[in-house]
Amino acid sequence: MNWNWRTGLLAQAQADYRMFLKLKDFSELNKQSYRLHFLQMATEKLAKGLMSNGLTPAPQTHKAFQKFVQKAHRHERVRKSCGFKNDIKGFINYLRSIQNIAQFIENLAPAGLETPNPEYPWEKRKLVNNSIKIEVYVPYTYAWPEWDVHLPEIVKLLEFLKCCFKAVDQELVEISI
């Protein structure tokens, strides 16, 4: 297989996504931080891959998924895979309803000492009795209340990803023939 920047990113996104899906089958690994880590990596590469022309490397930034969700209605293969072939307005409404959760996923990339993320410990500073108290949080032990897996917007995001990766599968199969 001769990879280019687009197919390479999409193939690696697919691998990260498979890990995200697989982790829930193992009770000893059923920790939110593990799954969120793979979800963040999968969505970042998915977005960069689907927005890539294949010729130039993706920008060196973690910020890609939110931008992709905003523009996904223009991506015909993804739109069709999601069942909105001729209903662009309906797809835009759908995409709007997952914007907040897409932003949350994008923000999971490690960025500074005070950002909650599933990869590195972070800190929070609080003013207690006129002195600053530093609390360090560990992703593995953190409860991740921000990621309430039972929310419908998360189900909608997961459906969206399933459809995106179906489109990716088709694209990768076509170029491998």
Binding site: K24, S27, N30, K31, Q32, C82, G83, F84, G90, N93, Y94, R96, S97, A143, W144, D148, V149, H150, L151, P152, E153, V155, K156, L158, E159, F160, C163
Partner: protein, 105 residues
């Protein structure tokens, strides 16, 4: 640690309320389907912005995890209101007549 829920009905009512409050104006109904083993919370929510579905409906399942106050497996599908009359519930969930509307209650 918040106290864990003990029954499926408690969880269904909690999730329905929580979801409607989180997505005001989007979710019009929440239906609970029975699980004779009483191990799974089976919900279908009607949301006008949902993705179109094939028949039968496919739900996303979430196993319980240690940090959660929900000790049950939760399966949730989000469909369009107009699909309720033409789509069957996920395989093994029975039919719409066996479901209980938990929102609006």
């Amino acid at each position: 640690m918040t106290e864990k829920f003990t029954t499926i009905d408690q969880v269904a009512n909690y999730l329905a309320k929580n979801h409607v409050e989180n997505e005001p104006g989007l979710i019009s109904e929440v239906w609970l389907f029975p699980d004779k083993n009483k191990k799974e919370v089976r919900l279908i929510e009607l949301d006008r912005t949902a993705m179109p579905h094939d028949n039968p409906i496919a739900a996303f399942g979430f196993p319980p995890f240690s940090e959660s106050k929900i000790p049950f497996h939760v399966s949730l599908a989000v469909i369009r209101p107009e699909e309720k009359d033409r789509l069957d519930p996920p395989v093994g969930w029975g039919n719409w007549n066996q479901a209980k509307k938990v929102w609006p209650s």
